[in-house]
Amino acid sequence: MDGMAPFERWFDICELSDIPVRGSRRLEKDGMKIAIFRTSDDRVFAVENRCAHKGGPLSEGIVHDCAVTCPLHNWVYDLSTGKAQGGDEGQIRTFPAEVRDGGRVHLRLAMAS
């Protein structure tokens, strides 16, 4: 996780205030659907917007603490690790995301192809 993988770079995405507290925004990059979440303590997380169960759009789920509940069948994911919680087993991709000074949300993704 330290250092930057060769083909990745940081992208400036939006203002923190563009994402509702305990809410999300959606983003598409090279065909990959990404959901960006903002927690109640103003941390941001980005994950692939595809539930490991049956592909549910996680961006549409309820956000609580550092987790989201999938809107289709209620799987719960830890947003920092991308691991499904409780009895469910599954893993979704996560992307480094952070709020930089000035309140801009940045996301690390593969370089534009």
Binding site: R25, G61, P71
Partner: protein
């Protein structure tokens, strides 16, 4: 053979317990008449404090119901005060007539002392003794209202804490320098004062009140030092006096109380007395434990063959019933010559413990912050047990001291001797409870309570009883499966709903903070439930928390398995027009919607709409006059109708018209779960009204109202609630049912489940059909709430002003 006549004056806690013992021993011994000045039978007076704070309802604290008295054949004259006793003729004079007795029991309890200062008789000055006082205080709890409680003893502080929990601004005036000085030493009094101050209660010690002022109604109180404190409510809790007036007037021997011997007999051999009105060997009592002992002795005395016990004076221990404050005191803890003390303090955790020893005996204990060992110390005090030199060193750490670390609660009860008292109010020991568990095969707290009375009075020992059960039964003991809302709290839906209202909690964070949620911001289960409860409790005030709603309700469309959405506009009563159909057709073409379908609810569903297209689809549908059908919400869904008398050759009333009126009245309202209605024009019932949440079946003479049907995972025909003659009445009835459900239903509980939980359609009948006033009030509250919920959520979002971010995806900025 005619039975002896037993008359009892007062149906308080002592009389209630006495009757139980008497009837247990011999149900047929007496012909019993029971008088009570309060308009009700026995309830657990101790629990008025949780009623005041909103943690319990009155119904939960009734110990003797009307049915119980009827079963026992007792003649009840509740709401009737006894004016005098004629000992020569052996009669009592009540407000409604004379009754003769062979044996008389005086159980009049005590009356609160009212300081006769100027203004004490103004409206808004209350004591704290009975249900009327409690309800008076609850009524006074308006936003911004101020209360002053005079008296910083047990009752005063429970009143102050309860009023504070209900949102009152509370000041306690206490004459002495520290709170509860009779039960606590100054250190514990200080900790208590700090705790209460932290809760926002202002404590003024050394405060001497001079007069209450106000014009007909309380406006404030003035102290000796000239300070004025404004108040809308003043509660006097400065002490009680045994109620002995009728006994004294009848010429019985009295002191502070009615004098009795060790069999509870007064100076007249036909008259007995029990409870707080009694004086025995110079002692009067103000806690129930000794009164319950008296009740037992008296029952034995009145059933001659069982007469083998005497009443003996014993120590009582004190606990304060303020949730979150743990305090215990027992015995005599004054300093004195020949007395030693052992003190333990842990300021960080707010714990203070002090034991007082005289010679090698424990004589007093004060515990604050951690009281688990209270019963154990109390036991040693009562028994006068000798404390050896080596035990003395570890005594303060309590019974669980074993190598320094405290044991878990189960190990702690396991370590108790059989004689250790578990329930102080009822004097029930560990041995009695374990014996009852073994012999009667008890498996839960309710069973133990029914059999032994342990935990049935002030309830503070419930946890100990649970631990005992767990210890005796191991895995066979299922800890009370409280229906907690979710893993974030111990509280059930009913408690959460009640506390939101009683503590005037008005936001999700306020609920989580005040009700000690275990997670920082809840979960997908509790947040939508809390959001609904707040919305239903504070219409017009609470601001909906969109992020606490399930996606369908957040974006006002149903999410589909592929992440697209379906859109269902309202078709009022299942009716549509050419213009609407044309608009639907145009929308389907314009947005390339892959599927159009008639739903099972008589309306059209457009499926497969992309999220970003939703605002456009809605704008076009709005244009044609269509609004959201809430097919996605825990809210009013469809009102199905049949064609009715307008067209049908056998229709009796305009079922289509009524259905439309109902839908126009109810649309937009949020409910615990979805709600579906239907109106059929005749008993052929083509709209399937008898499997809906609320159904109307029109008949020649009027409208049959049906409730509590279901046709989903469970299929259940409705119950017939009532039949009314006019359309207006039908509308009022349906709306009242809906509002009652909105106010009482648990989140995700359909109407049929709510009905079953509260006692069936008969109960709903009682609440809504029989109680006309209640029905009207429910209807008014429904209409009031509807003012705030009938804005079309689609129009709001199509305008782009609400939740615009929801529907747009982000762009990458390079």
């Amino acid at each position: 053979m005619s039975r002896e006549k037993l008359v009892i004056i007062g149906a308080g806690m002592a009389a209630g317990r006495f009757l139980e013992h008497l009837l247990d021993a011999n149900p047929d011994a007496y012909d019993i008449t029971l008088f009570n000045a309060e308009p009700r039978g026995t309830y657990n007076r101790i629990m008025l404090s949780p009623v005041l704070s909103g943690e319990k309802s009155y119904e939960e604290i009734v110990t003797h119901t009307d049915d119980w008295y009827a079963e026992q054949g007792i003649t009840c004259r509740f709401g009737e005060r006894i004016i005098s006793v004629d000992r020569a003729n052996k009669t009592v004079l009540g407000e409604k007539g004379i009754v003769a007795y062979d044996k008389l029991v005086i159980a009049t309890g005590s009356s609160p002392f009212i300081i006769p200062m100027p203004g004490h008789d103004l409206s808004g000055v209350l004591a704290y003794r009975d249900l009327e006082d409690t309800n008076g205080m609850i009524d006074a709890c308006q936003p911004g209202a101020k209360a002053v409680v005079i008296g910083g003893g047990l009752l005063g502080l429970e009143a102050a804490a309860g009023l504070r929990l209900r949102g009152m601004d509370v000041t306690v005036l206490h004459l002495m320098p520290t709170l509860m000085e009779r039960q606590l030493d100054p250190s514990a009094g200080y900790l208590l004062e700090k705790e209460l101050a932290d809760r926002g209660i202002e404590i003024r010690t050394g405060a001497n009140s001079k007069e209450i002022y106000g014009d007909g109604k309380v406006e404030g109180i003035r102290l000796e030092d000239g300070t004025d404190i404004p108040a809308n409510l003043i509660v006097m809790a400065v002490g009680i006096r045994p109620s002995i007036a009728i006994a004294k007037e009848a010429g019985l021997d009295v002191g502070r109380g009615i004098l009795v011997d060790c069999k509870m007999k007064t100076s007249d051999p036909s008259i007995y007395s029990v409870g707080e009105c009694v004086e025995f060997e110079g002692n009067c009592y103000g806690l129930v434990a000794p009164l319950f002992d008296q009740a037992k002795v008296l029952a034995n005395a009145l059933i001659a063959e069982a007469d083998d016990t005497d009443f003996v004076h014993s120590e009582t221990a004190t606990k304060l019933k303020v949730t979150g404050v743990d305090l215990f005191s027992a015995g005599d803890f004054a300093d004195g010559e020949g007395r030693d003390e052992i003190v333990f303090r842990d300021p960080a955790r707010g714990i203070y413990k002090r034991l007082v020893l005289e010679g090698d005996k424990l004589v007093g204990a004060v515990l604050y912050g951690e009281t688990a060992d209270g019963a154990w110390f109390f036991d040693k005090i009562k028994k006068g047990e000798e404390i050896g030199a080596e035990d003395r060193a570890t005594l303060i750490f309590g019974q669980s001291y074993a190598g320094g670390s405290p044991l878990d609660p189960m190990a702690a009860v396991a370590a108790l001797p059989d004689e250790a008292e578990i329930c102080g109010c009822n004097g029930i020991s560990k041995g009695q409870i374990t014996q009852a568990i073994d012999e009667k095969g008890l498996s839960d707290v309710e069973g133990v309570r029914a059999c032994t009375k342990a935990s049935g009075s002030c309830g503070t020992c419930t946890g100990l009883v649970e631990s005992l059960l767990a210890w005796k039964l191991g895995d066979a003991f299922a800890a009370p499966a409280k229906n907690a809302v979710c893993g974030c709290t111990e509280l059930g839906h009913d408690e959460v709903r009640r506390l939101i209202v009683s503590q005037r909690l008005k936001s999700v964070p306020a609920v989580m903070q005040e009700l000690s949620w275990k997670t920082s911001c809840g979960c997908a289960k509790c947040r939508p439930a809390l959001n609904y409860y707040l919305l239903a409790s504070w219409p017009g005030e609470y601001v909906d928390d969109n992020q606490s709603r399930f996606i369908n309700e957040r974006v006002h469309a149903n999410i589909q398995k592929d992440g697209t959405y379906s859109v269902v506009p309202r078709a009022w009563g299942g009716v549509t027009t050419a213009a609407e159909l044309r608009a639907v057709a145009d929308v389907v073409d314009k947005y390339d919607i892959p599927m159009v379908k008639y739903t099972g609810g008589q309306r059209i569903d457009m499926l497969g709409v992309k999220k970003e297209d939703l605002p456009g689809v809605w704008a076009d549908l709005n244009e044609a006059g269509m609004v959201s059908g809430h097919a996605y919400g825990k809210s009013l869904r469809t009102v199905k109708t049949c064609v009715g008398s307008e067209w049908c050759r056998v229709g009796t009333q305009d079922s289509t018209g009524l259905g439309i009126k109902l839908e126009k009245l109810m649309w937009g309202s949020w409910t615990p779960h979805k709600v579906k209605l239907a109106v059929s024009g005749c008993p052929r019932n083509c709209a399937e009204a008898t499997c809906k949440d609320i159904g109307v079946v029109c008949v020649d003479s009027g409208y049959q109202i049906h409730i509590a049907g279901a046709a989903g995972m469970e299929v259940r025909a409705t119950d017939h609630l009532t039949t009314v003659t006019t359309e207006e009445e039908a509308i009022e009835m349906c709306a009242a049912v809906l509002q009652a459900y909105r106010e009482q239903g648990f989140y995700l509980e359909r109407i049929y489940k709510w009905t079953a939980r509260i006692g069936g359609a008969e109960k709903v009948h009682e609440l809504i059909v029989d109680d006309v006033e209640n029905r009207k009030a429910l209807f008014e509250r429904f209409k009031y709430a509807q003012q705030f919920s009938q804005d079309d959520p689609w129009a709001e979002r199509a305008s782009g002003k609400v939740d615009a971010h929801e529907f747009k995806t982000l762009e990458l900025v390079e």
